[in-house]
Symmetry: C2
Subunit: 349 residues, 2 copies
């Protein structure tokens, strides 16, 4: 006997990413804002003055990637239960990528899913993390290994929040912008070479183009079955760098910058990109003083680490490499010796 299950397909997911001053936001449900002390100190008053809700709570979690854990998510969930949120309640992620990933994840879990909104306050989360619905936490096995695909109801990107962002964090966000350009758009890359990000209009235009590229990718491939994997350029190497340094030495974007330099070295080795193009990327990263070197102490250990990364299925690593600037190629089954030869060069630096 067979009983078939055929679920009625849900409505297609649609929402807007608004890049502008924060509008007035009015809700007729309970709202919980999740943020950290740093962001709250600078901007919470501004945020709260823009929100109308019958019941508004603020949950503050410690600042930092090391708190991006299942335990922290559980503590946010507990606060939601204490405030007796129901299925119609709303969470607002107010902060950087860590806040956004954990708030979205919490929203996906609370009573099997309630709505949430992203209001990113860092460049990295504005151009990358807040767009696309990847949520989750780290554990001792690596980054973002536990989580859900869960889309927000809206994203509000206010570039004014970036005025209080430390220079190093701004640069970390810039790394993800460079990533988008190198993978998908040579013309955007050239735009970035000449852009003055201190200029408000040019900053806004930079964010818009990055978000549009990200949206273009996510719209095609929400669950990362194909092209979305290209966004992991620099991340395969970068995750190992982050993990080796216990997530404390580098910001995520800084590790991605190093990872892109490593990926480019491999691309040069494979003849996918010229040495000059690799230098061009490095030079662009350096305009924001991003790190572009890293000393690999143990090449074998570094290489082994790849296999724990979630993007590697069946013990074969997929490397996402640039094909010149503005295009990409996913390369599988690169000879171990070739990868290690390239890695060894970073040991010598």
């Amino acid at each position: 006997m067979i009983v078939p299950i055929e679920l009625i397909p849900p409505q297609p997911v649609k929402y807007d990413i608004t890049i502008d001053k924060l509008p007035k936001l009015t809700f007729n449900t309970k709202v919980v804002v999740v943020t950290n002390p740093t962001v709250a100190g600078f901007h919470l008053e501004t945020l709260l003055s823009h929100i109308q809700s019958p019941e508004l709570h603020v949950v503050t979690i410690p600042d930092g990637e090391q708190y991006k854990t299942l335990q922290t998510v559980e503590s946010i969930l507990n606060e939601c239960f204490e405030h007796k949120l129901d299925r119609k309640s709303l969470l607002i992620a107010f902060g950087g990528g860590v806040i956004g990933d954990m708030t979205g994840f919490t929203a996906s879990l609370y009573q099997r899913g309630i709505d949430f909104i992203q209001i990113p306050t860092t460049l990295l989360s504005q151009v990358d993390a807040s767009v696309g619905g990847k949520t989750g936490v780290n554990n001792k096995y690596g980054k973002n290994l536990i989580g859900a695909f869960y889309q927000p109801k809206a994203v509000y990107i206010n570039p004014e929040f970036l005025k209080t962002l430390p220079k190093r964090e701004f640069a970390a966000g810039f790394a993800e912008i460079v990533k988008m350009a190198v993978m998908f758009d040579r013309e955007y890359f050239d735009f970035l070479k000449n852009a003055d990000l201190a200029d408000e209009a040019q900053l806004k235009e930079t964010i818009r183009r990055s978000v549009e590229l990200k949206a273009w990718v996510v719209n095609q491939d929400e669950k990362e079955a194909g092209i979305r994997a290209v966004l992991n350029y620099g991340h395969t190497f970068g995750h190992v760098v982050e993990n080796e340094t216990d997530y404390t030495t580098y910001l995520h974007g800084e590790a991605v910058a190093i990872g892109m330099v490593m990926a480019n070295a491999l691309a040069v080795e494979l003849g996918l990109m010229s040495e000059e193009e690799a230098d061009e990327v490095k030079a662009l990263l350096k305009t924001q003083e991003l790190p572009t070197t890293y000393c690999i102490d143990d090449v074998d250990a570094f290489y082994e680490h790849f296999f724990l990364d979630k993007k590697s299925a069946n013990n074969s690593i997929k490397f996402i490499l640039p094909k010149k600037i503005g295009s990409h190629k996913i390369v599988q089954d690169i000879d171990e010796a070739v990868v290690k030869k390239v890695l060894r060069r970073f040991g010598e630096e």
Copy 2:
């Protein structure tokens, strides 16, 4: 500036529920079977002899509703990481509802989602819990308050596994069967009154009809925006009973049996069902020796408990009540005094 997100809708979810002897199952990916010592002791050898996989692991978790926690899910996740599962790996839930709910939840979380299969071994999970994709865990605030909607790739229901099921657990599954009949199908209710569940063919037919009803509901309303809520008949009361007794006195199905009796009492009070029909349901529950009485010590505390239940939005409780036998009505805003009057009767028993 507005950048619209419009995700390409995913393929409609389709899978089969097979009610029969367990077939040979062949996979070309890593497989992790999640089970508990009791089920493993009786049936693991049988299961393993039916599975072919390049790498097969068994994860055993303690038996019992009190272990249906985020901590247990984390321990299953950790085992999956230790075995280096990738995105193509498969989990198999082999046990009752607790195992099914936690294994499905774990599958939804691991690297943001891997496949899983349900092989339910209790009557309750065969007729109810394994069908429909509700996954999750309990916490101190209540049952199934943290989780995900996450569908399995297949469900294999083998009634032979029920031969080793304790009589009390069999009865607990029967409560959910009665629930389906009372809510949706008078003719099925009459069939149950005369069915001999010790007879293999009649048992199989009973399971099939219950699964078909459940599938019919889930196919219309996966995310419980409407009719699926009807499946909570008996649960609004039952959850409070379970919670008051620390999940240790009653099996879930037993608490649901008590909850249905309470719901029926309220339905009689509101004129939705006759006293005779309520007695008819009670009599059917008693054929399997299910509990139909419960002493409410503190009616106010019992009533307050409803508001923590996830089905109650905006401080108004939705009661799912029978309209005669075979039909249902969702009633909101019942006067507190009326509900308490009915509850008080259970205090006197």
